[in-house]
């Protein structure tokens, strides 16, 4: 059993056979790997020939990006306010579905090096309110992860919960494991839960009911994610506000508008037939969920948001947070690079609005934290020293838009987060929102790390440590309606 054989395992890399250019196996395709150095050379020559104009051009592009993001943000928030856009299935309706009418649902639970929490995860899965013969729960364990396998066996899972051992292979990522498991999946619907997740017990029923309600083109329902240790410390508060804004406000707005919807990592309910047809997950992308969402949209399928919450564990430790966030940014950069490979095709498949939305949600998300420190530094220098070179960098046609973005753009972000916190049921996190500028600095640190990792080890999946929530059997801190 050599590692070499497993890498070529077609079931884990099925996407590369369906759509080779949509796989992040290589970070840059041929066109990109030629175009990027060419672009760098042009910029270098321009900088030598006319340094001020080149810098002004970069400033103009960056300012243009900020203005675009600002306007788009206002538009999304406006839409979110007007029409929440979530599909809501009440408890009675969810329970009213007859067992015979329920489809089989495959639940994949990837676990790697989680011996402490695997038992809790199994208990949590057993509390799902869904007929056991219609559930196809697979806990995905890496072949060489003996500690977790042992711990899982000792927890004596019920018969409908299967422990599936994933053969060794590269890259060792969650989507690779899920792709492998997909070939054994029996269900009509497929979903993923993380090991520490606490899903709403009626969630699968709600998803089934919702699928009856939506258009045929909707093949994916993304449930809301939140954190059960929301108020543990400042970092968890920031994370909770972010998730609340994203899942309660922005994602439904994107979905309602028909824009591409980057999925969350868990609790998305996909139709298995469609998932297999489009090639499963990209094993090489560290945010395979975002990538899947874009790919679904490109192929003409749609995603809607389900009003049901899965509670995850928010990382409460700074170092762990940086690891997780840099992985997210790296993944978004990968996703952006992969899907930008054939721009004209992307334009045709997404439409102009979707094209713009893709660049602003996937492309701008890691890019903006990278550029921010430059402008913060310039602003700081100007406030402290009024250096004349800064004045030359900001002629009036750049200065006023930049000022607008700095004042009103930042206000809008903070305000949108207050709205998101309120919509998601966390009004008491107002204080954390107001401290957001510190969080932005942290995001820039993570973005820088992501850039380095992108260049050096693009497919490396930096694992987040779980079980840091310091509570033996915590009560779920439910959100307020």
């Amino acid at each position: 059993m050599t590692v070499h054989n497993r890498v070529r395992e077609p079931r884990t890399r099925r996407l590369s056979y369906v759509e080779p250019d949509l796989v992040a196996y290589r970070l840059l395709n041929r066109g990109q790997s030629k175009g990027l150095p060419l672009f760098a050379i042009i910029v270098g020559c321009a900088f030598v020939a006319a340094p001020l104009q080149t810098v002004l051009a970069f400033n103009a592009v960056a300012t243009g990006l900020y203005v675009l993001a600002f306007v788009y943000g206002i538009y999304l928030v406006h839409r979110a306010l007007a029409q929440p856009g979530m599909i809501r299935v009440g408890d009675t309706l969810a329970r009213a579905l007859a067992d015979a009418d329920l489809p089989i649902c495959t639940v994949l639970v990837p676990a790697y090096r989680e011996p402490e929490v695997i038992a809790r995860a199994i208990r949590s899965l057993e509390s799902l309110e869904y007929p056991r013969d219609r559930l196809d729960i697979k806990i995905l364990l890496e072949e060489d992860d003996h500690a977790t396998i042992e711990a899982a066996r000792r927890a004596r899972p019920q018969p409908h919960i299967e422990l599936l051992e994933i053969p060794l292979g590269l890259p060792r990522t969650k989507p690779r494991a899920c792709n492998y498991a997909l070939r054994f999946a029996r269900g009509e619907l497929v979903t993923i839960f993380d090991v520490e997740d606490r899903p709403d017990p009626l969630q699968i029923r709600r998803a089934v009911a919702a699928f009856h309600r939506v258009d045929r083109s909707v093949v994916c329902l993304q449930a809301k994610l939140s954190y059960y240790n929301a108020r543990q410390n400042l970092i968890t508060r920031w994370l909770t506000v972010e998730y609340a804004s994203w899942f309660s406000m922005l994602l439904p707005a994107l979905a309602a508008q028909g824009s591409p919807v980057p999925l969350g990592g868990t609790s998305m309910y996909l139709k298995r037939s469609v998932l297999e047809a489009i090639g499963g997950w990209d094993a090489f992308n560290v945010t395979e969920d975002a990538d899947l969402g874009i790919r679904l949209h490109r192929m003409g399928y749609r995603t809607a948001v389900l009003d049901s919450t899965t509670y995850e564990e928010a990382t409460s430790d700074f170092v762990n947070w940086v690891k997780q966030r840099s992985r997210w940014y790296k993944g978004y950069m990968q996703t952006w690079l992969v899907h930008s490979r054939h721009p004209r095709r992307l334009w045709q498949e997404l439409g102009p609005a979707g094209f713009l939305s893709f660049h602003l949600t996937i492309g701008a998300t890691p890019l903006v934290p990278l550029i921010n420190p430059i402008f913060w530094l310039l602003t700081l220098l100007w406030t402290v020293g009024h250096f004349p070179f800064i004045e030359t960098l900001f002629p009036p046609w750049l200065y006023y838009p930049g000022l607008l973005c700095m004042v009103f753009g930042n206000f809008m972000i903070i305000y949108a987060n207050i709205l998101g916190a309120r919509m998601g049921g966390y009004p008491d996190l107002l204080g954390a929102v107001l401290l957001a500028p510190i969080y932005w600095i942290m995001m820039s640190i993570a973005a820088l790390k992501a850039l380095f990792q992108l260049i050096r080890v693009p497919n490396f999946w930096e694992k987040t440590t779980h079980g840091l929530d310091r509570q033996p059997s915590p009560e779920v801190e439910l959100a307020v309606d």
Binding site: V407, L419, D428
Partner: protein, 554 residues
């Protein structure tokens, strides 16, 4: 079109021309707008009634674009920026219509548009209250045709914008009280922020709205008692944040550019300074004076409020609180400031009484509340209509009262003179005649200076007093004005900065705050060794006398 012919497929009747469907609200807006524009044209072109404050705001916008030193900060920090900012897009059209700037008509256009909007919003609120059409239109008309509203819709002052944003905030808050939706909180906050950028008096309105949102949110939070307080706080923050942003941004910009966050109070051109100079200080008569002014605008204001509150209470309609929370604090603040002597005795500070009365009357007329009371008392149905008419009359009488008040200078010191002149024609007093000839002399001064064909930056004048001259001139770049970044330098060393002439007003009243008079106290009287007298202009209107001094070389 369905065929009405016996022959299949043949259409017999086909209208050749169909009017687009005009909704009632759109019609109201356009009628109001055209009406106010027409009145504006009459006032400005026909009767030479131009408000100094309005022209001054056109000036602020003009200095941003077309002065000798165009820059955005020239918008000025003593008054709120939004009125002038909204005029900026109109100014380039002065090439075709110089009167936009010379007579300040740009301000009149902006105020007409926004007062039309305020009328439309009032109609909208009355519509939200589900008033029957006759009453809805009656109250809207009584608002739109109130002489004070007509005048301030037409005369270019910022009250029109102020009322627009306030009524907009009221409408959004009413929607929030009825539906509890987050979007109405957001837009109410934005409207209040907009109101603040028009006039500082929005501050009490904003505080009132915050108190309302916080308390209602707290009262509604019974489902989750442990999160009640923070939910109320968060809801208040959502409404308050845009408002706080407007205050903060304006204060910080002011601090960065002119060195003080609240120029309104600190600046020598600001309200405090003007009040001290004009000695319009406190006196016991001011309390009465304030009351008289409020009642002059809406004699049966208390009746309207009482009726409205009763009507809302019977129906358990919380929406009345939106009107009271936003508009009443402004009136209270204006009254208190008058008593203190902090603000001048201008009638327009109480203009908010008019929409307050109209909207409260709207509550009184809502179906089902007054009717229930009447039915319960066993009165006949005819009496119901009679009572409704009584409510409307209580507002209608304001139209006559307002007209009377506005032409009486003892009640309306600011506009009384020129309006009285307008209505009385031949039997006018000296004060009224001077008001009617406002800015005539200033235009003459501008024409004289234009005739001299002077180079850039050769005439030094403080635009705080001399704005009419600068705006009437065809060559605004010949002036060195207050908003120019080298103004202080030019005052200190006129000949060194290329200034050849100094225009200085006689130091009476506000003209004593003129920067040049402050720097060279004897200049007007005798030249103070700075220059020699070239020309003197006695003002035929109610402005200052001017003298033109030629700067001595060296």
């Amino acid at each position: 079109m369905p065929s009405t012919s016996v022959l299949p497929g043949r259409v017999v009747a086909r209208p050749r021309f169909t009017l687009p469907a005009v909704t009632e609200g759109a019609a109201i807006f356009w009628l109001a707008l055209t009406g106010y524009l027409a009145v504006a044209a009459l006032l400005v072109f026909g009767a030479n009634i131009i408000q100094a404050d309005a022209l001054s705001r056109v000036g602020n916008a003009e200095y941003v674009l077309f002065s000798r030193d165009p820059h955005l900060a020239a918008i000025g920090f003593v008054w709120s920026p939004l009125p002038s900012l909204l005029m900026l897009p109109l100014l380039p059209f002065k090439i075709v219509f110089p009167q936009l700037v010379q007579l300040g008509f740009a301000a009149n256009i902006v105020s007409a548009v926004f007062m039309g909007g305020a009328v439309y919003l009032t109609w909208g609120i009355l519509n939200d209250l589900a008033l029957a059409r006759p009453w809805r239109l009656a109250l809207t008309l009584l608002f739109a045709l109130h002489p004070m509203i007509i005048f301030y819709g037409a005369n270019g002052m910022s009250e029109a914008l102020f009322l627009f944003f306030l009524i907009l905030a009221v409408r959004f808050l009413m929607a929030w009280l009825r539906t509890g939706r987050l979007e109405w909180q957001v837009y109410a906050g934005l409207a209040l922020g907009g109101a603040y950028l028009c006039r500082y008096e929005a501050l009490p309105a904003g505080l009132g709205a915050l108190a309302l949102v916080a308390s209602v949110s707290w009262l509604r939070g019974q489902a989750n008692p442990e999160r009640r307080l923070v939910t109320a706080l968060c809801d208040a923050a959502i409404v308050g944040a845009p408002f706080a942003l407007a205050v903060a941004v304006w204060a910080v910009a002011s601090y960065i550019i002119v060195g003080h966050p609240f120029e309104q109070f600190a600046s020598i051109y600001g309200n405090d300074s003007q009040m001290r100079t004009l000695s319009l200080g406190r006196s016991g008569a001011d309390v009465i004076g304030a009351l008289v002014q409020v009642l002059a605008l809406q004699p049966l204001l208390t009746a309207a409020i009482a009726f409205g509150a009763l009507g809302a209470a019977r129906h358990r309609d919380l929406r009345v609180l939106a009107i009271l929370a936003v508009l009443v604090p402004i009136l209270l603040f204006a009254g208190w400031a008058r008593m203190n002597g902090t603000i001048a005795p201008w009638l327009r500070y109480f203009i908010v009484a008019i929409p307050l009365a109209i909207l409260m009357a709207g509550f009184a007329l809502g179906e089902g509340d007054l009717s229930e009371t009447i039915d319960r008392l066993g009165l006949r149905r005819r009496l119901k209509t009679l009572l409704k008419v009584a409510v409307v009359m209580s507002v209608a009488v304001a139209v006559a009262a307002g007209a009377a008040a506005m032409t009486d200078p003892s009640v309306a010191p600011e506009e009384g003179h020129e309006l009285a002149y307008l209505t009385m024609g031949g039997h006018s007093t000296a004060d009224q005649e001077r008001a009617a000839r406002r800015f005539v002399t200033e235009r003459g001064i501008a024409a004289y200076l234009d005739g001299l064909q002077l180079p850039r930056g050769s005439v030094l004048v403080d635009s705080f007093i001399g704005f009419a001259i600068v705006l009437s001139s065809k060559r605004p770049e010949q002036f060195v004005i207050t908003s120019d970044r080298d103004f202080k330098q030019a005052i200190a060393d006129p000949s060194g900065t290329g200034v050849q002439y100094i225009l200085v007003p006689r130091e009476i009243g506000l003209a004593s705050l003129d920067a040049i008079n402050q720097a060279y106290p004897g200049l007007y009287a005798s030249g103070a060794g700075v220059g020699h007298l070239v020309a003197e202009f006695r003002n035929v209107g109610d402005g200052a006398d001017w003298r033109l001094y030629r700067v001595s070389a060296g």
